[in-house]
């Protein structure tokens, strides 16, 4: 059975290879090949899952050693897989959601001439992501880690002819590279201190080393997680990443890749357990991002960017939970899974809306779409209810647990973290209600404003083919798109209850991640009630602002905070001024230095040699008598020197 693990990765990898190397011959069937291989991966995952369920909790871990990758004296990196409950969860989520999104893309990308390539990239992503979660050592994980970064780069920049897409792709890769630097330093630290970087030995060795070292490794891992999971301060790429086709946003930038940071922290639980300072840093990052993403989400009029803010915020929850240690790990993963369902659903819904609206993304030009897109409306609505934590739906179960765990951290920290988490829940309810209301309810504002606003240029290229000035004709999407949405909506509704009731998920993951029951200072019921209460408040405020009043087509100027939030809280501006400008100045001055100083010294030496030559040359003045003087003088010096040598 273990030997199947490699197939999980191999199937989509094969797909990627075939699709990317196959050339135009495969254009007609490319998307089917991609989808089938993604589904194959899911089927294999399911078989392994069934097999795993058949074993006792302690025997479920499977490993497969493929080959020795980099064997160098003292440094042994293997290509080996480890499939335990944590990995299994991810495998199912990735291949499951991934397959659904493949199906969805068949319809969504139907008119794109480069659809084959798109599926190739998607398969490549699946392979890398599965490698990431299946690796049994940090170095192999790093391969997957950068592999998903590459896939993300390719997919964000899929419409490369748009400069904005190309820039966004590059930015995503670069910011991720900063995070990757953290991961590579972490691996180096592990190698230097433990002599290994395989999960098992490293996590075992944590007991024998000092807290300071664990903190160092932990912080570096956190940096890595920040990059991949778009956490402050490396969050800036996620909003721009929405330049990619919507299925990509759903799969990579909502459901799977961006949660890799959470996986990394949970996987390295033993390290963080031994390093409270690192844990604190994790929780702080999570809490800050949670609020940051939520605030940004409130201000965006671009539906995908609003959802991106939401993603950031929700991952903030997960990171927060992961930072809490054993009381939070399970909930972090649980929220990750439920979030995978509902956020993917929401994105697919957004894609469906855009599909019907000539690829318009500005919510101010939506409104009243529920009549035209009933399926989209219902599935999106269920996702909405799930994310705001409507009781009974999946988000409720997972988010509530995190808030509880945050309070259970204890002390002032606990109160602050819990408070932030609660506040986040309120804002979540607010901005999601805003999205919901602006899109599906209210006036049909698109009737008045057929042209895309210049401030938010159209994102999808198909707009050109539809004709920019035509009034959109909202319509429901084809079934290849709606079916995945329905399936995901199903998951959004029931997954939480399925996991949460009876602590099923806790029991499932406990052998891997450990679990401790937290004891919040107030009763769990109080927490739950207040969660629901803030959710209601958030919904109420949003309704007051966007449900009862008409939404202006042109965005009002808004408060200072709104304006800042529209610009991602000025973080990009900061980056631009400090890093981009500063970097440009640095490189430009270095180019100058290289040319004038480093090169100049050499050229100067050559020039001065030439000058010396020119001067000495003038001694050769053509007059025989002056030559005789030189000889006479030379003879005199020669004699004098010889005599002097004797005298000395």
């Amino acid at each position: 059975m273990e030997n199947l693990i490699a197939l999980l990765v191999a199937a989509p990898l094969l797909g990627a290879a075939v699709l990317l190397c196959g050339g135009r011959r495969l254009d007609a069937v490319g998307h089917w090949i991609g989808t089938v291989l993604a589904a194959a991966s899911f089927v294999i995952g399911a078989i392994l899952f069934a097999d795993m369920l058949g074993k006792g909790a302690e025997e479920r871990e499977m490993t497969q050693h493929l080959f020795s990758w980099v064997p160098v004296e003292g440094f042994q990196a293997d290509v080996a897989f480890q499939l335990d409950q944590l990995s299994m969860t991810f495998v199912l989520l990735i291949s499951g959601v991934g397959s659904l999104i493949h199906v969805y893309s068949i319809g969504y990308m139907e008119h794109d001439e480069r659809r084959r390539r798109f599926f190739g990239y998607l398969n490549l992503f699946l392979a890398a992501m599965l490698l990431l979660v299946l690796a049994d050592n940090y170095l192999l994980l790093y391969v997957g880690w950068e592999g998903v970064g590459l896939a993300s780069y390719l997919l964000i920049g899929f419409w490369q002819h748009k400069p904005s897409a190309a820039t966004a792709a590059k930015k995503a890769f670069l910011v991720n590279r900063v995070g990757d630097m953290g991961l590579s330093i972490a691996i180096m630290l592990m190698f230097a201190w433990f002599g290994t970087f395989a999960f098992g030995p490293v996590l075992e060795a944590t007991g024998e080393t000092s807290e300071g070292k664990l903190t160092a490794i932990g912080l570096m891992l956190l940096l890595a997680a920040c990059g991949k999971s778009a956490q402050v301060p490396l969050q800036s790429w996620l909003g721009d990443a929405m330049e990619g086709p919507t299925p990509v946003s759903a799969l990579i930038h909502a459901a799977t890749m961006v949660t890799a940071g959470v996986y990394l922290i949970v996987r390295s639980g033993a390290i963080f357990n031994g390093a409270p300072d690192a844990q604190l840093a994790v929780t702080v990052v999570g809490a800050v991002t949670l609020l940051f993403g939520a605030i940004v989400g409130c201000a965006k009029d671009d539906i995908k960017k609003a959802l991106a803010g939401s993603t950031m915020s929700q991952i903030g929850y997960m990171i927060l939970a992961a930072g809490l240690g054993p009381i939070g790990y399970v909930f972090a993963i649980m929220h990750l899974v439920t979030h995978g369902f509902f956020k993917a659903g929401l994105f697919l819904g957004a894609g469906s809306v855009m599909h019907g609206m000539n690829d318009e993304v500005d919510m101010r030009k939506y409104g009243g779409l529920r009549k035209y897109m009933p399926v989209t409306f219902v599935t999106f609505g269920l996702g909405y209810l799930a994310i705001i934590g409507f009781p009974g739906l999946s988000g409720f179960f997972s988010k509530d647990k995190i808030i509880e765990a945050a309070f259970a951290k204890g002390g002032t920290e606990g109160w602050i973290l819990g408070g932030v988490a609660l506040l986040g829940a309120a804002i979540t309810a607010y901005y999601m209600t805003r999205v919901m209301l602006m899109t599906f309810f209210g006036e049909e504002r698109w009737r008045h404003a057929p042209t895309p606003s210049p401030a938010e240029p159209s994102v999808e290229p198909a707009a050109e083919t539809h004709g920019e000035h035509a009034e959109p004709h909202p319509h429901e999407s084809p079934s290849s798109m709606t079916i995945p949405m329905i399936v995901l909506a199903f998951g959004s509704v029931f997954a939480g209850a399925f996991f949460g009731i009876g602590d099923r998920f806790i029991h499932w993951l406990e052998p891997v991640t450990d679990h401790a029951h937290g004891h919040p200072p107030v009763s769990a019921l109080t927490v739950t009630l207040s969660t629901v209460a803030v959710m209601v408040i958030g919904v109420g405020v949003a309704y007051a602002q966007y449900g009862r009043r008409p939404v202006p087509v042109a965005a009002p100027r808004g408060s200072l905070l709104t304006r800042a939030a529209r610009r991602d809280l000025l973080q990009d501006d900061f980056n631009h001024v400090v890093l981009v400008r500063g970097g440009e100045h640095l490189t430009r001055s270095l180019v100058y230095v290289d040319h004038t100083l480093v090169d100049g010294v050499v050229n100067g030496t050559a020039a001065s040699m030439g000058g010396l030559s020119g001067r000495l040359r003038r001694l050769q003045n053509g007059f025989a008598r002056s030559y005789a003087v030189s000889m006479f003088g030379g003879a005199a010096v020669l004699i004098a020197a010889t005599l002097l040598m004797r005298a000395v």
Binding site: R617, R618, Q620, N621, G622, F623, A624, R625, A628, V629, F632
Partner: protein, 99 residues
């Protein structure tokens, strides 16, 4: 008389000759100065020959005279042909090639 004085005289003549080479422009005169230097050498050789009491120095002096004569033959030929081409025997005029 102290034979060393002959040496001083020879050195003086040599220096006069050398100075002449350095300061005179006419090629013939320059050449004559070189001859003076050679004769200074001859004087020194003969003086040493006398001091040492062997004949080597005097033999060399004869050879030197022959060599000087040969030099005159070659030198005058060259100088004369130069003079005929340029209508000038000044060594300073012959400075086409320089730098």
């Amino acid at each position: 008389m102290n034979p060393v004085n002959y040496l001083y005289l020879a050195a003086l003549l040599f220096t006069i000759g050398a100075t002449g080479v350095l300061i005179r422009r006419n090629a013939i005169v320059v050449f004559m100065c070189v001859e003076l230097m050679l004769n200074a050498c001859n004087l020194a050789l003969v003086a040493f020959s006398r001091m040492h009491g062997n004949l080597d120095g005097q033999i060399i002096a004869f050879f030197t005279m022959v060599v000087a004569a040969a030099e005159v033959v070659v030198g005058l030929a060259i100088i004369v042909s130069l003079f005929r081409s340029r209508h000038s025997a000044s060594v300073d005029d012959a400075s086409l090639m320089k730098l």
